[in-house]
């Protein structure tokens, strides 16, 4: 078999392929919500228990990718963090907006860690340790990023100098 060209062959880099992990779709407002008649809930629970007894894999704790935390304060913290974490697959989207599997798994991981009592900044630091500053939409002030903060002030000073000299000429 001829090997796939390297630049096309990583599921993380194929936005339009049919890979399940490459589900880069604009998703705001489109996420499916589970709705259904109430009386079926009991049946579902019983069915779930039976299935769990048959297959231990299903007994794993449910993913928190699209399930909010019961504590609203913690959920707000988790949501705010998710909006500033970049999806490594649909690069350019935050994980809160991405439909990619790995983004869902990261949302779940963030909710679990926040639920367990970690602060959002601890979770961010943990993710930066894994993927580098790239993962965060909140770049830290450092050697490579200080011009971002300095540029507005430098431009403002240049603007004042230009304005002053041009007003003087008018007089």
């Amino acid at each position: 078999m001829r090997p796939l060209p390297r630049f096309l062959s990583h599921a993380g880099l194929v936005p339009a392929s049919n890979e399940r992990q490459a589900g880069c779709v604009e998703s705001k407002g489109l996420r499916l919500r589970r709705v259904g008649p109430r009386h079926k809930a009991g049946v579902t629970v019983v069915l779930g228990l039976i299935l769990a007894a048959i297959n231990p894999a299903l007994a794993e704790k449910a993913s928190l990718a699209d399930t909010q935390l019961s504590d609203p304060a913690k959920e707000a913290q988790a949501k705010a963090l998710m909006e500033t974490i970049r999806c490594v697959e649909c690069q350019g989207q935050a994980i809160s907006d991405s439909n990619a599997d790995i983004a869902g798994n990261m949302r779940s991981l963030i909710r679990e860690r926040i639920k367990a009592g970690e602060s959002p900044e601890q979770v961010r630091a943990w993710l930066i340790q894994r993927y580098g500053d790239y993962i965060s939409y909140d770049p830290p002030l450092g050697g490579a990023t200080w011009p971002l903060w300095a540029a507005p002030f430098v431009l403002l000073v240049i603007g004042i100098v230009i304005a002053r000299s041009s007003f003087r000429r008018k007089r």
Partner: protein, 175 residues
């Protein structure tokens, strides 16, 4: 001096144009690399996904024996393309542990039957927990772990012949 200054905006524009044109013909590398390379392997335990093989845990690494971790999935097309390369590594004696992402026992077994089975152990990473802990951004990815349990190399996307040679060389050097 004044005359030279007159040309400055055009020169700046030409430089910017050149920069943009360069980006057009030589696009940036969008690969997300792990920041965990050269760091110790994080602690983890994954249950088995197929009955014939044990799961994968942090404790099976180190102890003086370098090993590979291959992050894969039965639903991933490049993983099929990669299978013969992994079989080459297996034939050369390199121990490989698999981490199956978002997968089912049946699908993994079918994948192994069809494409060959290079793995000594396969862990079930349903929620990408270990994948994220390794700083991996997709499938397939391969990590070389040295005898002290440190991540030495990361290979993103399906392995190519030259990368297999690189793994073999490094692995032999580490033993």
């Amino acid at each position: 001096m004044r005359r030279m200054l007159l040309w400055l905006p055009l020169a700046l524009f030409a430089a910017l144009f050149g920069l943009v044109a360069l980006g057009l013909f030589k696009p940036a590398d969008r690969t997300v690399r792990s920041a965990m390379v050269d760091k110790p392997l994080p602690d983890f335990t994954l249950p088995a996904i197929v009955p014939s093989k044990p799961g994968v845990a942090r404790t099976s690494f180190g102890g003086g024996k370098p090993r590979l971790i291959n992050v894969f999935a039965s639903w991933c097309v490049p993983c099929i393309a990669e299978a013969p390369e992994l079989m080459k590594l297996k034939a050369a004696g390199v121990p490989i542990d698999g981490v199956a992402i978002n997968d089912t026992p049946e699908a993994v077994q079918k994948f192994l039957d069809r494409n060959g089975d290079p793995y000594q152990r396969i862990g079930n990473d349903k929620a990408s927990q270990v994948q994220i802990a390794l700083g991996s951004s997709g499938v397939p990815e391969t990590f070389l772990i040295d005898g002290r349990g440190r991540i030495v190399r990361q290979y993103v996307s399906n392995l190519q012949d030259d990368q297999v040679d690189d793994i073999l060389k490094t692995w032999r050097g580490m033993r």
